[in-house]
């Protein structure tokens, strides 16, 4: 606030107060106050005068001048949260930064673990965040990068406005598409051209990403317009953004990029082209791959015979084949793997006697090439998102080798599963768990759709029940337990009631395990109920039914 500068005889001349302070600093022994009334000592006179000056100054305070006001935050047109959902958000955010510490988790749910799901549901309904929750939301997103996309989408335009005022939240400007500088409307050709010409790298990357998401061709044309002048690192990043909306129309541009000066750019172009089974590159790779893999009919039963390439020629290198293998791998098998993974999978039934993928995978492979060949097919199935081949390569979930270290690792299985429809994926993982238990299942569960389909949920709960009866401690399964809390269908809660009792302890069981299991299941049930409640709170209340839409007694 400002000291009053006017006010006639009540105002103290500025000099007097400064004089009083100087006198007080030096001491009245060294410097006498200007005015000492009769009967007062010098210090008392100084304090009298200072008291009057202090109270006068405080009484005369006035507001100061306003600084430049910030621009208004952009309007958020989304509807506000229903009141119960807003209360829930408050409690979820109150749990943040809390209790991550070790030790037993008790029977209460981890609220912060439910925040991602809550945010996804709120975003799906298109609700706006309550403005006063934005600081807590931004703090939560700051601490957990995995939360950022959903939290920032929910937080909306006001959060970016806020982030420009507080350096702690700068990350929001980087993470949000377009960051600080708003992206031009993608229909605004002039604005797009100018930002592409003059923008910072992050802004240009965001612009290209936005264009690819809406009109892939325009994104590609924009990139092609300046391709020759971009730096190699930038070319690599820009090229990679063509993954979004990739189609056969991109092939000519990618073919051209195969001749790029940068090896990494060439490899990325080849990678993208091989994901287009109709591309010329895929056809060239098919020719090379089929030259190496043939059906051998000389034996009693048909088998696959493999003759790996003898050299990696310049054309192969131009098509993205990396000539030098990593340490410990043979050159020829390294080249073979790259050819097979880049060849369209549609090639193989024609090449191998019209067999289906299942029949091909079942064929014996001579001379120990099976591992190499199947692994390459796995990579191809993932890259080309081929459900039939993924299914064939996954095989039966109850097959013995599905549980152990086979030709196809768990990580590869998880990727193959992603190519299947959610229902089929869930059924496969359920079958796997029924045969092999939970210890290997974590990675596979991670790719299943949430909430888990009923057969999968039942398989997980049954397996947990079996683990409990086997007498081990629940924290050996805390990973799966945590996943179950977040992914199990809340409708399963009632089926879990029987697991809540503390069972009699079998002799060989770990001490106290029964109680801990009851507690873990209690937490599971509580969390499921809470999730059901959360979902219910986010659903808008049904509008008033139209009167007369269903006449109560009309039919008589």
């Amino acid at each position: 606030m400002n000291r009053a500068t006017s006010g006639g005889d009540t105002a103290i001349p500025e000099g007097t107060w400064e004089e009083l302070v100087t006198t007080a600093l030096l001491g009245t022994d060294r410097r006498a106050p200007a005015h000492v009334p009769p009967g007062r000592t010098a210090p008392a006179a100084l304090l009298d005068a200072a008291a009057v000056a202090t109270v006068r100054r405080r009484a005369g305070l006035r507001p100061g001048r306003a600084a430049r006001r910030p621009e208004r935050a952009p309007a958020d047109p989304r509807p506000p949260l229903p009141a119960p959902a807003a209360r829930r958000l408050t409690t979820l955010l109150a749990d943040r930064s809390g209790g991550a510490g070790g030790g037993r988790r008790g029977s209460a749910p981890d609220l912060i673990e439910l925040l991602p799901q809550w945010l996804a549901a709120a975003n799906a309904h298109g609700y706006a965040a309550p403005p006063q929750s934005l600081p807590a939301l931004l703090d939560a997103a700051r601490g957990r990068t995995d939360l950022r996309p959903a939290a920032l989408a929910f937080a909306g335009p006001r959060a970016l406005w806020l982030a420009r005022l507080n350096p702690d939240w700068r990350f929001a400007l980087r993470a949000a598409p377009g960051g600080g500088a708003a992206l031009p409307d993608t229909e605004d050709a002039e604005g797009v051209r100018r930002l592409w010409q003059e923008g910072l790298f992050a802004e240009r990357a965001a612009l290209l990403g936005a264009l690819r998401a809406r009109t892939p061709a325009r994104g590609r044309e924009l990139l092609a317009s300046t391709w020759g002048t971009e730096r190699a690192e930038d070319r690599l990043m820009f090229l990679d953004s063509l993954r979004t909306g990739l189609s056969d129309a991109d092939e000519p541009f990618l073919e051209q990029a195969l001749g790029d000066r940068s090896r990494n750019v060439r490899a990325t172009a080849a990678d993208l082209l091989s994901a287009l089974p109709g591309s010329a590159l895929a056809a060239r790779m098919a020719v090379r791959a089929t030259a190496c893999v043939a059906l051998d009919r000389t034996g009693d039963a048909p088998a696959i015979v493999v003759e790996a390439p003898l050299e990696c020629d310049a054309d192969m290198e131009r098509d993205g084949v990396v000539a030098t293998p990593p340490a410990g791998r043979g050159e020829r098998s390294w080249w073979l793997g790259q050819l097979v993974e880049s060849a369209p999978l549609g090639t193989w039934p024609r090449r191998l006697g019209g067999r289906t993928p299942e029949e091909i995978v079942a064929l014996p492979v001579t001379d120990g090439w099976q591992g190499e060949l199947h692994a390459a097919w796995c990579r191809a199935a993932v890259r080309q998102r081929d459900a039939a081949w993924s299914r064939a390569l996954l095989g039966s979930p109850s097959a013995p080798e599905a549980g152990g270290p086979g030709a196809v690792s768990l990580a590869e299985r998880a990727k193959l599963l992603a190519a299947l429809e959610p229902g089929e994926r869930a059924a496969w993982v359920a079958g796997f768990i029924a045969t092999h238990g939970l210890s290997e299942a974590f990675q596979l569960l991670g790719v299943c759709a949430v909430p888990w389909a009923p057969p999968l949920g039942r398989a997980v709960v049954d397996a947990l029940d079996i683990a409990r009866e086997a007498g081990s401690y629940p924290w050996s399964f805390s990973g799966v337990m945590g996943l179950a809390e977040r992914c199990l269908d809340p409708a399963e809660a009632t089926r879990l009631e029987t697991l809540l009792a503390v069972p009699d302890e079998p002799e060989d069981a770990a001490p106290g395990a029964g109680g801990y299991w009851a507690e873990a299941f209690q937490r599971l049930v509580t969390t499921l109920r809470l999730r059901a409640e959360m979902t219910r709170e986010l659903v808008p209340p049904a509008g008033p039914r139209e009167e007369g839409a269903q006449p109560p007694d009309a039919a008589g």
Binding site: M1, L25, A42, A51, R65, A66, L162
Partner: protein, 451 residues
């Protein structure tokens, strides 16, 4: 009491928590899972919470009692309220099905409740009887008061002497002397039974280390201390109200003596000032009909939250009695006629210029006043370099925010709520600037606590 519309919001429940850990723990228990046998009725909420032991904890909360929410839980926690009570209230606030209304409390809850309400009645009749009959031995009480006044006078005289010595030698020398001199002086004032003087002296000790401009601040505070000493030494020549203000600033006990004012009191703000020995809770209330703003103080010993807790945004029908002394708005909570319930009204607001003027006028009745409660209408939080201010939306004037207000998370809730648009803000306005405590958005919307 009807249950309709009296359930609190989660914010209001969480405001009861004594600390951040309790907020978290309480939030985790605000779900149906661990609870059984829950119910609410007659202003009470109860339930059984499954803990780690075999017997569930019995938790009861009395929301309607005359002395503020009361909590009872069979858990061993020393936090008050404990996480179970908080969780139960959250559950009750959020889910009508989980805590059904209109039930009769079970025996274990009913017994505690009957005991509590019985004690309250006894206290009420007890104090009424006491005030009617006066102290047991008025002569002895008068002698005690005289003896204390003599000691305070001796203390004030000694303090005047010490201040005079200080200024004779100069404040520059005092800076080098360090904290010890102030500490010793404060101890002397404690001996003199003048806790108000002791607290001021102790605060003075920190001024020399408070950065640029400290000599002016130290002189201001020394001068106000001197003014208080002088006020005490000449109290018989002061107007009654000012003499009462001096007595209360010195720290002499006072009893509320104004006529009781019955009103519907909106809870504007509640915050705690924590020091190692004592937690002081300050609650600002605004009367719907009277337009008066009053402050309640309640205390908790170290580590315990003060018992009185009134969440922001609720209003309670009650009588308040003010303490003697002009300028200050301290009051005591008397009889309560209905439990706190959500209220939609807001205090009437004013401008930054009027707020500063109000502080100035209040100094006439109490020159030691640090700030006055004010509601600002249509103000916009504005960054001003490293500082922040609240600017009038319609004029060119602004109040700076106080230092503590600028560093609290509440500042960001205020800025987020505003989004550059005008908001209504209640807070304390004084010579150090404005401390925002509660805000309301433009248009309709609930009160948002900032502290």
């Amino acid at each position: 009491m009807t249950e309709q519309g009296v359930r609190w919001t989660a914010e209001q429940v969480l405001a009861l928590a004594p600390d951040a850990a309790s907020r978290r723990a309480g939030s985790k228990l605000g779900v149906a899972g661990p609870w059984s046998g829950t119910g609410s009725g007659e202003g009470t909420v109860w339930g059984l919470c499954k803990g780690s032991g075999s017997r569930p904890y019995q938790t009861v909360v009395d929301l309607a009692g005359a002395s503020g929410p009361g909590f009872k839980c069979s858990c061993p926690s020393r936090k008050f309220p404990c996480k179970h009570a908080l969780g139960l209230l959250l559950l009750w606030a959020g889910d009508e099905d989980a805590v059904p209304a209109g039930e009769r409390p079970p025996d274990w809850a009913g017994q505690w409740l009957a005991g509590r309400r019985g004690r309250e009645d006894a206290k009420k009749t007890g104090t009424e009887g006491g005030s009617a009959g006066g102290p047991a031995d008025p002569e002895a009480a008068r002698r005690r008061a005289e003896r204390r006044a003599e000691r305070v006078t001796a203390g004030a005289t000694e303090l005047e002497q010490r201040l005079a010595d200080l200024l004779r030698g100069g404040l520059a020398a005092a800076e080098q002397a360090g904290y010890g001199w102030w500490d010793e002086t404060a101890a002397r004032m404690v001996d003199a039974q003048a806790p108000g003087l002791a607290a001021r002296v102790r605060e003075l000790g920190a001024v020399p280390a408070s950065g640029a401009g400290w000599p002016a601040r130290l002189l201001e505070e020394c001068a106000l201390l001197h003014l208080l000493d002088q006020g005490w030494l000449r109290r018989t020549r002061l107007p009654d109200a000012l003499a009462a203000t001096v007595r209360s600033r010195i720290g002499l006990p006072a009893t509320p003596d104004g006529p009781p004012l019955r009103d519907r009191w909106l809870v504007l703000a509640q915050y705690d000032v924590v020091d190692p020995k004592l937690t002081t809770r300050r609650i600002w209330l605004h009367g719907a009909a009277s337009g008066q703003t009053r402050q309640l103080l309640s205390y908790g010993a170290a580590g315990r939250g003060p018992e009185l807790s009134l969440p922001v945004g609720l209003a309670l029908e009650a009588e308040l009695t003010t303490y003697p002394g002009g300028g200050r708005a301290r009051a005591a909570l008397g009889e309560r006629f209905a439990a706190p319930a959500p209220a939609a009204f807001r205090p009437p607001g004013t401008t930054t210029a009027e707020a500063a003027a109000r502080y100035g006028e209040a100094l006439r009745d109490d020159p030691w006043l640090e700030s006055v409660p004010v509601t600002l209408d249509r103000v916009i939080p504005v960054p001003d370099g490293d500082r922040w201010q609240l600017a009038d939306a319609d004029t060119d004037t602004a109040l700076p925010l106080t230092g503590p207000a600028r560093s609290r998370p509440g500042l960001w809730r205020l800025v987020a709520l505003s989004g550059g648009a005008p908001v209504t803000v209640f807070g304390e306005c004084g010579h150090r600037g404005f401390t925002p405590l509660t805000a309301w958005p433009e248009g309709a919307g609930e009160a948002v606590p900032l502290c």
